[in-house]
Subunit: 345 residues, 2 copies
DNA sequence: TTGTAGGCGTTATCAG
DNA sequence: CTGATAACGCCTACAA
């Protein structure tokens, strides 16, 4: 096959053990021996076999990432944070696209085990899926740390990086109320998603603060996708007393709303007001002054890797047998006002 | 550590070899023995260690994917095609985000070798980079097939999946000419990119067909990113005799153009005409009738995996020692007219 | 049909 | 500071 550690050893007139020490920057090697070996390594263009090393150490630097919808720009941004951070920390990323299919999600769990990944970062598809929850807890117990991002799992206490969905949503709806709106509609996220639920609770809480009863006619069950949101906008707007403002629960939903709004030629912040969750670069290009609840998505990805790194470090210091703290990180949200929240502006 | 093939063997009262045969679906195992082993495997929740297997067979089912700009929706779509196809064929994807940094690209090549990936799919950053070319050819020679996507490398004959950039661009510009435009500007892609160059040649060829001389004042050097395109639009439009139509060489560039156009309140297909390369879902939502050169990006990703699969199969049939054909697949483009090409519409 | 034994390329533990 | 040698978990001739 390809050139191995013995070839180097032979050439250098030493044993494989010494070469191994050099490769791994271990102490107790004479400076000269080291230099010589290093030279031979580079001149023979030798690259240690990671498979063999991992097998021997029982520890890969590979981490798995399960992502439900690769084309959603939110996830792309996350992915960039993740890949950058994992490069920084020396991990390889195994990418698994689950495409919103729970079967795929489960299939990938098997892969994770087979490949002996040292950690996984998961955006679970269904917060209520007991099987996923079980499998993930098994990983944790087996010493494979799990970090959730954005979405969570019900009754499944794991590490995770989330955002302040409740606060963000509350602030957005509160803002609309301050603007004078009283008929505020929302298109909810999927019921089995933590962010969807939190944002819904934020909506309710803001209404309650202002002593306003939530009304069925202004509430729609969305699925975080554009098509449905677009349809729901029709049913929201084409009723006798339509809402004066919309709170949309994610970026795709906002697109659906905007689709309807631009199609009807409505003026944002004039004919209809709106605040969406999650910013999109595209809005700027299109000169669309949509107010949004923003958060640092890139850093969510980065934080997830750091959290994982920390957990992995704790696991390798098993000698102290510390009980490590579970951590949930909540990235703050920020309300960015661009005018679409205005009433009859 | 975790449970291994010997544990299963002991429990089943057979040797590890027999268990191995069962795991790999090899013949010459009594049906009953097989059933029994399978039962034990599932009851003990055993998953074979892929690292050990790969080390032993010298063949991983892992393939690397180098992508320059994860947040570009074109690449997201590609990524979806790739992940779906690789799941279908049983590969794992190692994702490497190069972020347009040639150093990262080279660093990842090292990783590819260390991890003994069985193939790589690359979107090279710089078509003129000799080092990348050299490394990729080395991989090919070492039996690690390489498939390029979209972008290529100069003087580096490798397998690849591209699209009919020249034809697409030619058709777009020809269409603008048919509409009566004579002052057609273009914002070019990077000079070191194959698609950028092909699309530029298509532009020139179309002009030539109509006997029109390309004019410096209507040509700008872009970089496939939005910001620069936006700036270049200023310099294009704010001259004494501005162009009447724009041909934009990729999706991000189109965004930059649209940014300018919407900001100035220009009417697409009225005040200014335009055709872009690559469609974007977003356009529909924003009700923007941009005509585009479209291609099936998802299938480009899928095709890349299929090409790789074929090459891998050929390599394993080394006994025949066939010289396998290098393949370049060119996905067709399609001009989608939505009105923005019209003149004084 | 099944078992034995050696090898894949490293690392790690002891000795020296 | 360096070298044998035994793992790591699986596959695969070859033998039985």
């Amino acid at each position: 096959m390809s050139i191995n550690i013995y070839d180097i050893a032979k050439k250098a007139g030493v044993s494989a053990a010494t070469v191994s020490r050099v490769i791994n920057n271990k102490p107790h090697v004479r400076e000269e021996t080291k230099r010589n070996i290093l030279n031979i390594i580079s001149s023979m263009n030798y690259t240690p076999n990671a498979l063999a090393r991992n097998l021997s150490t029982g520890n890969t630097l590979n981490i798995g990432f399960l992502i439900p919808d690769i084309e959603n720009p939110f996830f792309s941004q996350l992915l960039r944070g993740l890949t950058n951070a994992s490069e920084r920390y020396g991990y390889n990323i195994f990418l698994y696209g689950t495409d919103d299919s729970i079967e795929k999600e489960h299939r990938f769990f098997r892969s994770v085990k087979a490949e002996r990944l040292s950690g996984i970062i998961v955006i679970p598809i269904d917060a209520n899926n007991a099987e996923s929850c079980k499998r993930l807890l098994e990983f944790e117990k087996a010493g494979v740390p799990v970090v959730l991002i954005d979405r969570g799992l019900k009754n499944c206490r794991l590490n995770g990086v989330f955002s302040e969905d409740f606060n963000g949503s509350y602030a957005a709806v509160d803002c609309l109320l301050q603007e004078g709106h009283r008929r505020i509609a929302t298109i909810k996220g999927p019921e089995n998603s933590r962010p969807g639920n939190e944002r819904w609770l934020g909506y309710l809480a803001a209404l309650e603060k202002w002593n306003i009863k939530p009304e069925e006619r202004y509430i729609r069950q969305g699925n975080f996708h554009e098509e449905l949101a677009y349809e729901l906008m029709h049913s929201l707007m084409e009723q006798s007393e339509p809402p004066t403002a919309i709170f949309s629960s994610n970026n795709m939903t906002s697109l659906g709303c905007l689709h309807y709004i631009t199609e009807k030629g409505l003026i944002l912040g004039g004919d209809i007001s709106m605040i969406g969750f999650d910013d999109m670069d595209i809005l700027k290009c299109m000169n669309i002054k949509l107010s949004v609840v923003d958060r640092d998505v890139y850093s969510m990805g980065w934080n997830a890797i750091e959290l994982l790194t920390k957990r992995l470090a704790e696991l390798s210091n098993k000698d102290k047998n510390e009980i490590s703290c579970r951590q949930e990180i909540f990235v703050p949200t920020k309300l960015i006002l661009r005018g679409s929240e205005k009433w009859r502006g």
